[in-house]
C-alpha cells in the first residue's frame, strides 16, 4: 500500500535539468516508491498524470510540483528534507577559487566556509562588527584585538551565551583549541589538562611549565582580561568551563585569572561545584600563590611529580638598587610586580604589551623595537640594580627573539635575568633561545616567579 503526497509551490523556479536531478535524488530516499519534482508545464503535468498523481487544478507553468509516492508515511519527512537539500544543491555555487576575489567580510568568508572558527585581529573599533558576523553564522570567535569597549564585549558575550557559542577575548592573546594554537600559542602535546585563561601570557607560562613536567594540554580557552569583572560577569568563562566539562579527555580544568569581582567569584564557585570535572584556580593576586605554585598544585592534583624548574647561565652582582622590569607579557609583569611589592624593593616595571604601547603598532612579541630602546636606557642608568625580562616563544611570536636581545644584553653593567616562556616544540627552538641568551650573559629561567625571586635576591645583596 502506498500513499501519494503532492505539493504545489508558487514563487519557486528551477530549470528542468536541475529538477530531473532533484527528482532522481528524491527517488533514492528509503521508503520512497517514486518521485517527480517539476514545473507544472503541460508536458510535465501529462507525465505526472501518467504516473498516477492527482494534481490540484491551480497548478500552472509557474508552479513547482513536488509529487512523491511513499511506501510508508513515515518517510515523508525524509523525502521532504531531500527535496529541500537537492533544490539547494542545484543552486549551489561551485566555483574555482582562482577566479574569485577574496571575501571582504567575515560573514562572506563564512558563507564559503561554514562552521569555521573565526580569529579577529582587526583594529579594536571594528572588532565587534566582525565578531558579530561570526556569532550570527554560528561560529565561535577569538577576538585578539584590544581597545574594544567593554559594553561591546558584554553585548557580544550575551549574544553568544544565548546560542551556546564562545567569545574568546577581546584582547585574547592565546588559545589552544583541540590542539590548534591561535594567536600567541605554544606547541603543546595533548593531555589531561584543560585551561580557561583570562590572561594570554599567564596561560603561556602554565603551558610551558606543564610541558617541562611532561603534562599535555588538549585545550586552553582564552576569555579576555575583563571576563571575570563585574561588568562581564564571567559569561565566557562559564561557557568555556562547560566545554571542558563535556570533553572526556579533560581530567582537571585550570582557571587562570586575576581574582574575580566578589559577586562573580561567588557565582563562579557555585558553577564550578556543579561540574563533574574538578576545577582548580590560579588567581593571581597579593598574598596568593604565583603561577608556578599554581602549576605545582595542579601537578600534585594529577598525581605527577614536580620537576626542578630549569635555570641556565650565571649573572653578575648588582651595583644599583632599582629592579627594572621590561615585559612583553602583561601577566608576567603583574606576577613580578606582586613579588617585588611584597619584598619592599624599588621596582620600575613596564608591560610593553599594554594598550598605551600598542595603539598603532605591533605587539612587542612581534616587534621588539620599543623594548630594546628602553633596555638601552635602563642599562645605562646608574640606579639600575638588575634587569628582569621575559621572552615569549610560540606561534605568532617573532621568529628569533634572541637574535636582537642577546647583543643588547651582552657586556652590559647590570645583571640581566630573563624568563623564556616556551615549550620544547615551539618553532623558535627553546634550547637555542636559552643558549643564546645565557651565552650573552643572562641568567635564564623557565619560571617567571623564580626569575623574579632571583632578581630580588641579587638586589638583596647590595641593600
Amino acid at each position: 500500500m502506498t500513499t501519494d503526497h503532492v505539493e504545489v509551490r508558487s514563487g519557486v523556479y528551477a530549470d528542468s535539468v536541475t529538477l530531473l536531478q532533484v527528482s532522481r535524488q528524491v527517488q533514492q530516499v528509503p521508503g520512497v516508491a517514486t518521485a517527480q519534482v517539476a514545473m507544472a508545464t503541460p508536458l510535465n503535468v501529462e507525465v505526472l498524470e501518467r504516473m498516477g498523481f492527482a494534481l490540484p487544478a491551480e497548478a500552472t507553468v509557474n508552479h513547482l510540483v513536488v509529487a512523491v509516492r511513499l511506501e510508508d508515511d513515515a518517510s515523508l519527512e525524509g523525502a521532504r528534507a531531500e527535496v529541500e537539500r537537492a533544490l539547494a544543491d542545484g543552486r549551489r555555487q561551485v566555483r574555482g577559487d582562482h577566479e574569485e576575489a577574496p571575501p571582504r567580510t567575515t560573514s562572506a568568508a563564512l558563507r564559503h566556509d561554514p562552521g569555521a572558527l573565526v580569529l579577529v585581529s582587526v583594529p579594536g573599533p571594528s572588532a565587534a562588527v566582525e565578531a558579530m558576523d561570526a556569532l550570527e553564522s554560528g561560529s565561535d570567535v577569538m577576538v585578539f584585538s584590544d581597545n574594544v569597549p567593554v559594553e561591546q564585549e558584554v553585548a557580544l558575550k550575551q549574544y553568544a551565551a544565548s546560542r551556546d557559542l564562545l567569545v574568546m577575548g577581546p584582547d585574547c592573546g592565546t588559545a589552544v583549541v583541540e590542539g590548534l594554537g591561535l594567536g600567541f600559542a605554544n606547541v603543546v602535546a595533548p593531555g589531561p589538562v584543560g585551561i580557561v585563561a583570562a590572561s594570554g601570557t599567564g596561560c603561556q607560562q602554565v603551558l610551558a611549565l606543564l610541558d617541562h613536567a611532561g603534562v599535555g594540554v588538549g585545550t586552553a580557552y582564552g576569555v579576555g582580561g575583563r571576563d571575570l569583572s563585574a561588568d562581564v560577569g564571567g559569561l565566557a568563562t562559564r561557557t568555556a568551563l562547560a566545554r571542558l566539562d563535556a570533553d572526556p579527555s579533560v581530567e582537571v580544568a585550570l582557571l587562570i585569572s586575576k581574582p574575580p569581582a566578589d559577586d562573580v567569584a561567588r557565582d563562579l564557585t557555585a558553577y564550578t561545584e556543579s561540574l563533574g570535572t574538578p576545577v582548580r584556580l590560579a588567581l593571581l593576586g597579593a598574598g596568593r600563590p604565583d603561577l608556578t605554585a599554581a602549576t605545582e598544585d595542579l601537578l600534585h592534583a594529577l598525581g605527577r611529580d614536580v620537576p626542578a624548574w630549569p635555570v641556565r647561565g650565571e649573572t653578575r652582582a648588582a651595583t644599583g638598587h632599582v629592579l627594572q622590569g621590561l615585559f612583553v607579557g602583561g601577566t608576567m609583569k603583574q606576577e613580578a610586580e606582586l613579588l617585588v611589592a611584597a619584598a619592599g624593593v624599588e621596582g620600575r616595571l613596564v608591560d610593553f604589551g599594554d594598550d598605551e604601547y600598542t595603539t598603532g603598532r605591533a605587539h612587542p612579541m612581534i616587534d621588539p623595537g620599543l623594548r630594546l630602546e628602553r633596555l638601552a636606557e635602563v642599562v645605562a642608568d646608574e640606579a639600575t640594580g638588575v634587569v628582569l625580562m621575559d621572552v615569549v616563544l610560540g606561534h605568532g611570536a617573532e621568529e628569533d627573539p634572541a637574535a636582537s636581545l642577546a647583543p643588547a644584553i651582552r657586556d652590559v653593567r647590570p645583571p640581566v635575568i630573563v624568563t623564556v616562556v616556551g615549550t620544547a616544540h615551539d618553532p623558535q627552538g627553546l634550547e637555542r633561545q636559552v643558549d643564546a641568551l645565557a651565552a650573552a650573559g643572562a641568567e635564564v629561567h623557565l619560571s617567571n616567579a623564580m626569575a623574579t625571586r632571583r632578581a630580588l635576591e641579587i638586589l638583596g645583596g647590595v641593600r
Binding site: D15, P103, D113, L119, V129, E130, E136, F144, G181, P427
Partner: protein
Amino acid sequence: MTDHVVSVGVDLLAQAVADQAAPVSQVDWRPPLAGTEDDLATVALDPLRGAANADALERVLGVQAVLVDVLPAHEAVGLERGEFLHAGPPIAWDRASGPLRGALMGGAVLEGLVDTPEEAAELFEGGLHVRLEPCHHRRSVGPMAGVVTPSMWMFVLEDPATGARTHCTLNEGLGKVLRYGAYSPEVLTRLRWMGEVLGPLLQQVVRATVAQEAPVDVTAILGQMLQMGDEAHNRNRAGTLMLLRDLAPAMVSSGTDPAQVAEALRFIGGNDHFFLNLAMPACKLALDAGRDVPGSTMVVAMSRNGTDFGIQVSGTGDEWFTGPAQVADGLYLGDYGPDDANPDIGDSAITETAGLGGFAMATAPAIVRFVGGSVPDALATTRRMQEIALGENPRWSIPILEFAGVPTGIDVTRVCRTGILPQINTGMAGRRAGVGQVGAGLVNPPEEIFPKALTRLAALTRERAAATTPS
C-alpha cells in the same frame, strides 16, 4: 582538531595557523568608510538587527507581482490636474535638472495646462498651479525623469497574497522620448497615441487575462528572462517578447481594429525596453513589502532625480538619505560625449535594489560591452554585489553562476564596511532639456549617503537601548 579557521585582520596570525597545517581562509579586510566605526558597532550589536533583516528579506522574497490592470494615472494613483510625479527623491523646479525640466514641460503640454513648452517653463517657475511629488510617494516608479501626468496610462501590479499594489507608466521606447527630457512634437504625438490607443487596448487585454484567471505573472517572467540574457534594467528583450506572447492572443481577439492591434504589437515588439516598466513596479512591490521593519538595515529604494541620488532604508521609514547624483561612465550615441550627459536620473535603480540590473550583470553578457565592460567583469560584478547583499533570491537565478540567486537586499552596514557601492546599469539623458537619450553606462550612488543612513540607524538603535535600559 579544529579543522578550519577564518582569519580577519593580521596576516601573521593567519600564517601562524597555516604553519600548523590547518586550513585557513583570510578575509580581505579593509577599514570601513571614514568615521563609521562607532555607528557600525552600535548597529552590529543591535539586538533587533539580525531578525529584522531576515524578516525584511523574507518579506521581499515572498512577493509575487501580477499584472492586474492598466489605468490612467488619475484613477491609478489619484493624480489631479496640475500634479506631476517625478523620479527620485523630492525636488523643486529650481533645482531640477535639464531632462526633468524637459519632461515636466512636455507633460504640461500633454495635459493641456499650456500650449507650448516655453509657456510650461513659466508655469513651473511660477509654481502656483503645479505640484511636484516623487513617484515613490504614490506607490509608483518612473524610469529616467519618471514624469507622470493624470492622463498617462499606468500598469497596475498586485501581490495576490496581500492585495498591495504598485504602478508604472507605459514605456515610450528609446531615443527622443519624454522620460529622457525630450518634448518635441513627435514625442507628444507618440504620447497621445499611447493615451488614446495603446492604453485602452492594454486595459481591455489585461482585464481579459484577469477574467480568464491567467494574469501575467511578472515575477515569473523575470525569473525566466534572467535565464535568457536579460538583466531587466538595460536589457529587457526576452521579457518584452514573453509579455507579447502572453498578451497577443487577447489583443487579436479584442475586437479592436486589426490595424490598431498591429500597430500596438509593432510598437511593443519594436521597443526592447517595454518590459522595463513592468520589471520596475514588480521590484518596487517586492521592496515595499520589506519597508518599516524596525532595526532592519536593508535598502528598500535607490532613486535619482537628475540632481540628487536618494535611498530609503527599511529601519528608517520614509526618510530619504541623499547626495549628488553622479554622471554614468559608458558609451555615447552618435556625437554625444561626457559633456552632454546629465547626472544619473530615474527610479529604475529599483531593479538593482531588488537584485536585478547591475546586480544580475553576470546573466547578461550580451550587454556588457554596451555598458563598457567584459564578460569576466560581469561575473565579478555580480559576485562583488554578493558582498553587500543580505541574501539571494532563489527564484531569480543566474545559470552561469551555477544558478546562484541574484544578490538581494542591499545592507547599509555591509556597504559602509566594505566601501563596495551598488553597481547600477543605466541610460544617460542629455544635460539640456529636450535632447533625449545620449548614451548608457554604469554608475554608482554617491558614497556619502550610506554613512548618512547608518548614522540614523545607529541613532535609532541607541534610542531603543535607552528606552529599554532601566535607569
